[in-house]
Amino acid sequence: MAHEMTTSSPASTKADRSRLALRDILFKAGPLIALIALIAYLSFASPKFATHTNFANIGRQTAPLAILAIGQTFAILTGGIDLSVAAIAAFASATTAVLMTSPLVLFGVDLGYLPIPVCLAAGLMVGLLAGLLNGWIIATFKIPDFIATLGTMQVFRGVALLTTQGQSVPGPSSTREMPPAFTWLGTANVAGIPASIFIALICAGIAIYVLKFTALGRAVYAVGGNREAARVCGISVGRTKIYVYAISGLLASIAGILLVARLSAANALLAEGEELRSIASVVIGGTNLFGGEGGVIGSLIGAMLVGVLGNGLNLLGVSPFYQRIAQGVVVVLVVIFDQWRRRSLNKK
């Protein structure tokens, strides 16, 4: 996106400037206002909406999407995009699920069931490595992020199919069900609030800290805001990309594991289409699709909007076919609005 450098003098009067500041705040708060309006409408429209059970439900369903969206935020802030997040979620969680439901046999030696933390660590490691691979390809071969992750998306799905042999896990080759200590992650409530929400919030907290208070965060915004400027200031674009995609991959594996824990079953086609919903969440949340502007809080709000919209349409008895249409329309409208907003902001 071409950011026009104005050579004319900046907003001259104080009134001018405060008017601009007000508009800035309104524009920024746009997604939040939309979320509140949607919740208010649904509370009227459906008696089942504004209940504790339903809110807990929305939380549980939205937490994995929110975590994917946090990773996606990093990628989009650098001016990239990670199309492989859902595939990584499936691959990583399938790894964890297979290890948990069948004993590990290495070189003919039966090691028995691995402890749950080891299975979790293995899943997270898969996500991290998959993300590193994305970053390495993008940094080394200098191909567009979009293309690189479009390719690896297929690769990771394929490897996930190999891992599960195309079956649901636990399935025919499994020797036990998912341990309850594991499914607890996806189903339990802590103080009446789903545990997965806490996990999403912890991820968000760390992500916000990284973006705001570390060199990496600055590098992310710099690379997305003006890659050339980042280079002139001695920031390695490639290294930044590797970190960003590693983070996105790691978060994708967390999202996948939470999803499997909620469903008590893994499957190589898990979370299909979630990459697009994660991108939608980020864009709805006000992050510039061309990089350099935005943040995690917006993406959380965006994910909630997507989640609440789906839930509300369900409660209102709208067919899933129409739901897809509605989601698509919302995304396009948001991007149109965003473009218009940015143009008017940058024009002053």
Binding site: H3, E4, M5, T6, T7, S8, S9, P10, A11, R17, V210, F213, T214, A215, L216, G217, R218, A219, Y221, A222, G225, N226, E228, A229, A230, R231, V232, C233, G234, I235, S236, R239, T240, Y243, N288, G292, E293, N346, K348
Partner: protein
């Protein structure tokens, strides 16, 4: 000769028809008057050279004639009739041969010549006619090129001829050349001149922009000199000489707006030896001393931009040595250059800024170059230093939240300067430090430069602003075709000397 009026032409061309007349053309860009009250005639069978310093308005004028820009004021008349705004130049017989080649490398010669207008027959493209006509046009130019050859495989000079053929295909009466020889070798150049003379004999009116004085003397019939967007003079070549043209380009000795300050010049801090980079730098050697402002002057494409890129580690170089103090820089990145306390103010400010962020993150960006990715930001220091620099450099508006894209060019430039000062740079490369900033901000930037050298910083000042170099530099290296042609000391430094050595 001296008795004939300035606008009359020699008797050998008795009815030199005026093909195109510019009347009081003015062009204003936001914050910048590019052209003011320019009038001139372009006649049939005449090669009309357009000269002027960088930024004098030559290219703007060319683009107005070619209909790419519309003039803010004044008229363009063809056959005595005024052209409408946003006219289609080709319709009025005007063709522009661009400075940069605008061909599609993957397409064939014929396709490029007919780009978007391939001849059709029964609704489908008539390839045979296209190739036949393309060959005919090229033969008229005296070249034998295969119309089916992909343009990307041709020599630069051949590509230039294809570009000319494309313009000629539309049968223009006036052909404009914008620095056509900058990429050509001597023999290719003389071939191009043959083509231009041929066009002249066919009765075309030719406008020719070049920086090459001897070239202008050799080929043109009339020369018009622009200075600061105004017509300095328009005279027959017989009345011109190289010295006279240079004098017209420079104008009266400019008032010394920027008084030279004296600083103590110390030991060399940056040594460049025999630097070679592709065809852009062909063995450049110099040293920059402590507390010195070393100017670098040259025409566009003489190698100054590549020099800055090579020293700062943005573009790799083939051979040669760069030492910053005792640190050798070879195969280095910008991070290495920054570690060696070098800072770069790039030619294009947009290359250096994060436009959608406020001052503080822009200021501290270069601090990150040697930090670990997961290290903590110095948020407190960033805030403190931003506030300090805003005050010290009088950055307006003095805001910590306003996005940088809302600042004027001069204030943006101050932020970049503050960035390098805050990261402790001792060697600053200023590439066109005053481009696109207003006079007031210019004076402030110069004041800061003088404070910097006083404090022992060294400055490599690459500039095409002759008067600024004359006013500020302790020495000036004049570059031409990738070489340092001459080094002028403060005593030898003058606007005329810079122009003469660079052309």
């Amino acid at each position: 000769m001296a008795t004939s009026p300035a606008h009359a032409l020699p008797d050998t061309v008795p009815e030199a028809k005026v093909l195109l007349r510019l009347r009081n053309i003015g062009k204003v860009f936001p914050g910048n008057v590019a052209l003011c009250d320019v009038s001139l005639d372009i006649r049939a069978g005449e090669i009309h050279a357009l000269m002027g310093e960088n930024g004098a308005g030559k290219s703007t004028l060319m683009k107005i004639i070619a209909g790419e820009y519309s003039a803010t004021s004044g008229d363009i008349l063809v056959d005595g009739k005024s052209l409408p705004a946003n006219f289609d130049a080709a319709r009025y017989g005007i063709g522009l041969v661009h400075q940069e080649l605008s061909l599609v490398p993957a397409l064939s010669v014929a396709e490029n010549i007919y780009l978007g207008r391939l001849p059709r027959r029964f609704g489908s493209i008539d390839w045979r006619a296209a190739e036949r006509n393309a060959r005919a046009i090229l033969q008229r130019l005296g070249v034998d090129l295969d119309p089916r050859a992909p343009v990307g495989r041709l020599e630069v000079a051949e590509q230039q001829l294809v570009e000319i053929a494309r313009v000629l295909e539309r049968a223009p009466k006036i052909v404009l050349f914008d620095e056509p020889t900058s990429a050509l070798s001597d023999s290719e150049r003389s071939r191009l001149f043959d083509v231009i003379r041929l066009l002249k004999e066919e009765g075309h009116g030719i406008v020719y922009i070049s920086h090459n004085l001897s070239e202008i003397m050799a080929i043109s019939d009339r020369v018009t000199v622009l200075r600061d967007g105004q017509l300095a003079a328009s005279l027959p070549i017989a009345e011109a000489s190289e010295a006279k043209i240079v004098g017209l380009m420079v104008g009266q000795a400019l008032a010394q707006q920027f008084p030279k300050f004296e600083s103590d010049i110390g030991q060399p801090v940056l040594r460049v030896e025999n630097l070679v980079s592709g065809t852009a730098l062909k063995g450049v050697s110099f040293s920059l001393r402590q507390g010195e402002i070393l100017g670098v002057y040259g025409l566009m494409g003489a190698g100054q931009a590549e020099l800055a890129g090579a020293i700062f580690g943005l573009t790799p170089f083939d051979s040669g040595e760069i030492h910053a103090g005792e640190t050798p820089l070879k195969d280095h990145s910008a991070a290495d250059a920054i570690a060696a306390r070098i800072g770069l103010l790039s030619r294009d400010r947009r290359q250096s800024l994060i436009p959608m962020q406020p001052i503080a993150p822009n200021l501290s960006l270069a601090w990150l170059s040697d930090r670990a990715m997961l290290s903590k930001l110095e948020v407190g220091r960033e805030k403190r230093e931003s506030a300090d620099y805003i005050k010290m450099m009088r950055i307006r508006p003095p805001s910590m939240t306003q996005k940088l894209l809302h600042y004027s060019g001069g204030n943006q430039q101050k932020v970049i300067l503050a960035r390098w000062m805050s990261s402790g740079s001792k060697i600053l490369i200023f590439d066109e430090p005053t481009r696109g900033i207003d006079v007031g901000a210019k004076a402030e930037v110069f004041a800061i430069m003088s404070r910097l050298v006083e404090a022992g910083t060294s400055i490599l000042m690459i500039s095409s602003e002759i008067n600024e170099l004359v006013a500020l530099a302790d020495r000036v290296l004049v570059m031409r075709s990738g070489l340092i042609k001459v080094e002028l000391t403060r005593e030898q430094l003058s606007q005329e000397a810079l122009l003469l050595h660079s052309h």
